[in-house]
């Protein structure tokens, strides 16, 4: 016996939109079973994970703060994914953006350099991510190297580079030997006094609008979509496939880099190991949860950020491990992909009765 996927002829638009919702429900059910097997009450966990964060002001702010890097990275990734390019190294581009973006704030820390430092740092952060994403793009265009492997492996290079810098040349001499830099002066301002919402959050909605416009209204966005859908048609349309590969990776890398430097100048305030808690990987889930649509990804980022905050509360309230949150995010991605497949294809059971 084997299973075959048969393409469905007509898929109602509603089914496509509801698929991620169904996937979310399914993963909550699976998560509930896991929690029950761990001997805890699934109902209590559901309350802590999904309900409580939505009822408390500080948690809502925290969701927005966590959702921002996820959203920025996912929007960048969507350009790659739409063009059928598998950039799974956004985590590395995030770290590289944070690292390159931090050069100016580090150099100017403790001096009275003007307000130009912050915008320059943001630009350099985006540039750092962009250049780092250019490596897998150029390797693919020039030598046909799989971007999946190179982009993933470069994540570890970025992580170890960061590790080296904060333990070596960039270590704060007055930091009691902790692996961290000095605190930056150039920080994104808070949107409201005493809150957690910093100005970097504004990049999220702006990115949603710009991405929507580029994908739907520009010839470049059209080219990205066509080249993912049918590469030969894209060539027939006159789009240079190599140029599209490079452009998609540049956008993706720049967005991840921007997310990295926003995270550093928005809330952490210094470089240290573990500035990313896997945002670059989690953003892949966000991208698919949002069906690669900018507005969809906005919701996707908020939902996933909710699980992160809920997961932190669950550690405290229910003594559930952090790994459970990561497991849940993995289950969610699997369910989203499965739901997409089931919406587009019908499963047929083929029985092979051999004589």
């Amino acid at each position: 016996m084997r299973l075959e996927l048969v393409p469905r002829r007509d898929v109602p638009a509603a089914a496509r939109i509801l698929a991620p919702v169904a996937a979310l429900v399914a993963s909550i059910l699976i998560g509930g079973v896991v929690i029950a097997l761990m001997g805890r009450s699934p109902a209590a966990a559901l309350d802590v994970y999904f309900i409580q964060p939505l009822t408390e002001g500080w948690a809502l702010q925290e969701i927005a703060v966590k959702a921002t890097p996820l959203l920025l990275i996912a929007i960048g990734l969507s350009f790659c994914f739409r063009a059928n390019l598998w950039n799974i190294g956004a985590e590395g581009q995030f770290v590289m953006g944070a690292l390159v973006g931090s050069i100016l704030p580090l150099v100017t820390a403790g001096t009275d350099a003007g307000p130009w430092v912050l915008p320059a740092a943001l630009l350099m952060g985006a540039l750092g991510g962009l250049l780092y994403a250019l490596i897998p793009a150029l390797l693919r265009v020039a030598f046909g190297v799989s971007e999946i492997l190179t982009s993933l492996m470069l994540v570890y290079v970025a992580d170890l580079t960061l590790d080296y810098l904060v333990r070596g040349p960039w270590r704060d001499p007055k930091g009691f030997n902790f692996p961290q830099t000095v605190n930056f002066d150039a920080m994104l301002p808070y949107l409201a006094e005493g809150g957690r919402l910093h100005a970097g959050l504004l990049f999220g909605p702006i990115a949603v609008l710009v991405a929507w416009f580029v994908v739907q209204r520009t010839l470049f966005g059209f080219g990205v979509r066509v080249s993912g859908e049918s590469p030969k048609a894209a060539r027939f349309a006159g789009f240079n496939p190599d140029r599209l590969v490079v452009a998609a990776f540049c956008i993706s890398g720049a967005m991840a880099g921007l997310a990295g430097i926003v995270e550093v100048t928005g809330q952490i305030g210094q470089l240290k190991p573990g500035i990313s808690v896997g945002y670059g990987f989690t953003a892949i889930t966000v991208a698919f949860l949002g069906r690669l649509h900018p507005v969809g990804m906005l919701f996707g980022a908020l939902v996933v950020a909710l699980t992160v905050i809920g997961g932190e509360s669950a550690q405290i309230a229910l003594k559930l491990p952090l790994d459970l949150t990561r497991t849940f995010q993995g289950i969610l991605l699997m369910c989203v992909l499965a739901a997409d497949a089931l919406v587009s294809y019908r499963v047929r059971v083929v029985t092979t009765a051999r004589a």
Partner: protein, 518 residues
């Protein structure tokens, strides 16, 4: 030893296989509507019908690839169910597909070995291939890698594969579509020998001359139903054609007399290395097409047609600017969009995935090929309203039947999508049009519309190049005919002065020398 026994009484009346009331539905489409068919041992039975008539669906059911919704299959008087091709092969049903499934980098023997049932010994395989080859006239060198073989030789591998399992019934799906006329003659000898040996043959085609020559009985399908069963030897070709099409065959109107203008499209000693593995290098291709004429490029599939199309369109750029000229201007180093801006237009062979993106709407597919030459994209922005207007104009001018206001291209039938992708280019009034396989796999009505549009475009002064494997089509519309073989193009001969025989020789790579300037 059943083969020999059956051989004693060929064309016995007891059917080898009988299909009774076969119904197969795909969603709303009924591909087979209560189809009856039987094949006797020792006969060559033609299954006739246009593309989309339901022939392929029916034989896929007979070969166990599809399961019918209703009806039964009776094999030698016994009702059977065929869940998969292995069941069919176990009974003794073999099939030679239209599209080959061969591994290019493996040898002939290796390709045959992978298709043998599990557990079969490979020790004497070369000897067995030689034996079958000698008995049926299927010459093959077991040690040759497949990528060095011609289409005719590749087809022999498929036939030998089927014959090694000693089938009682052999199904052949459009076997001559990739052969030269001479290769087809060799195939017919093989098929006659097989039938004389008692094997029943089901021969699927839409080529009527072949049927008259080869087959003792014919079943004609149209729109999923059997519309006639007859003896093709006593029917006229035009009667068979009208049975197939359901009305008198539409002939194209010749263009009103018009003088050929200056040369508008020219290839000068164009040579190009292939961009894909096992692609065909183009060698010294020269061709000059005048305004007002249609030049047909005939040839067996896989002789460099797609490479030639890519070089003409600019999807692959030439090595020198001089190798390609549009209206006297060298454009060899220019990409497809810059050639379009010089008023050239192109229609590639595959409509789904090359000429059109199947999951994009029709108006988006307007943007696909017209963004460089019309206002649908200005300063990098797409004008959706204008694209929809242009799509509507193409749909109206070419009578494209579709569901919904702006449906996805992939939801259109083959004929309608082909009318759309050809019409999209013709409505621009290009000065040069290059079309690869303009009517492959489309119904007769759509084919006539498309061919007429090409003739009319040339009559208005455009230079038209039609690459086609369909000799009937080329003779119907071309003023001059050139033949492509192994990446080389023959001189273009006036269509009235060259016969099928001579074209057949050129298609097989013999005959006059190549690479004359036309």
């Amino acid at each position: 030893m059943t083969r020999e026994e059956a051989g004693g009484s060929p064309a016995g009346d007891a059917p080898l296989v009988a299909l009774r009331g076969i119904v197969k539905r795909f969603g709303d489409l009924t591909a087979n509507d209560h189809v009856d068919l039987d094949v006797r041992p020792g006969e060559i039975h033609a299954l006739l019908g246009e593309n989309g008539a339901g022939k392929s669906t029916l034989v896929k059911i007979l070969f166990g690839l599809l399961q019918p919704n209703e009806g039964e299959i009776i094999w030698q008087g016994r009702r059977v169910t065929l869940d998969n091709p292995e069941d069919a092969a176990d009974l003794g049903i073999g099939m030679v597909f239209q599209h080959f499934s061969l591994f290019e980098n493996l040898t002939v023997a290796e390709n045959i070995a992978v298709a043998l049932p599990r557990g079969e010994s490979l020790r004497d395989l070369d000897k067995r291939i030689a034996e079958v080859g000698a008995r049926y006239g299927l010459a093959l060198d077991p040690g040759r890698p497949v990528w060095t073989l011609s289409a005719g030789e590749r087809q022999r591998i498929e036939i030998v594969r089927a014959l090694l399992r000693e089938p009682r019934l052999l199904i052949l799906d459009e076997p001559t579509s990739v052969l030269t006329p001479q290769e087809a003659d060799t195939l017919f000898v093989t098929l006659d020998r097989l039938a004389a040996g008692g094997c029943g043959l089901l021969y699927i085609t839409h080529r009527l001359e072949e049927v008259k020559r080869l087959c003792q009985r014919a079943t004609v399908m149209r729109a999923g139903k059997v519309v006639a069963a007859c003896d093709p030897r006593v029917e006229s070709v035009s009667r068979l054609a009208s049975l197939m099409v359901g009305s008198e065959v539409v002939e194209v109107r010749p263009a009103p007399a018009h003088a050929a203008g200056p040369v508008r499209f020219e290839l000068r000693d164009l040579s190009l290395a292939p961009t894909e593995a096992h692609g065909i290098p183009l060698a010294g291709v020269s061709l000059a097409v005048r305004g007002g004429e249609i030049v047909g490029i005939a040839g067996v599939a896989g002789n460099g047609q797609s490479e030639l199309f890519a070089a003409m369109s600019g999807e692959v750029e030439a090595e020198t600017q001089e190798a390609v000229r549009i209206d006297g201007q060298p454009v060899g180093r220019m990409g497809i969009d810059r050639r379009r801006r010089r008023n050239a237009a192109f229609v590639p062979e595959e409509r789904n995935g090359h000429a059109a993106a199947p999951r994009f709407t029709l108006s988006e597919n307007i943007v696909l090929s017209l963004h460089a030459t019309s206002g649908v994209a200005r300063r990098g922005l797409v004008n959706g309203a204008m694209a929809r207007q242009l799509a509507a104009a193409v749909i109206k001018a070419f009578d494209v039947r579709k569901g919904g206001a702006d449906p996805m291209a992939g939801t259109l039938s083959g004929g309608n999508l082909q009318k759309f992708v050809v019409g999209r280019e013709i409505l621009r009034e290009p000065g040069v049009l290059v079309v690869n396989q303009p009517t492959w796999g489309v119904d007769a009505g759509a084919a006539a519309t498309i061919r007429q549009a090409l003739i009319d475009l040339a009559a208005r002064g455009a230079a038209v190049v039609v690459i086609s494997q369909d000799l009937d089509e080329i003779f119907a519309i071309a003023d001059r005919i050139a033949v492509i073989h192994d990446g080389r193009l023959s001189a273009a001969h006036p269509a009235r002065e060259i016969g099928r025989e001579q074209i057949g020789l050129l298609m097989a790579g013999s005959g006059e020398g190549h690479a004359h300037a036309a």
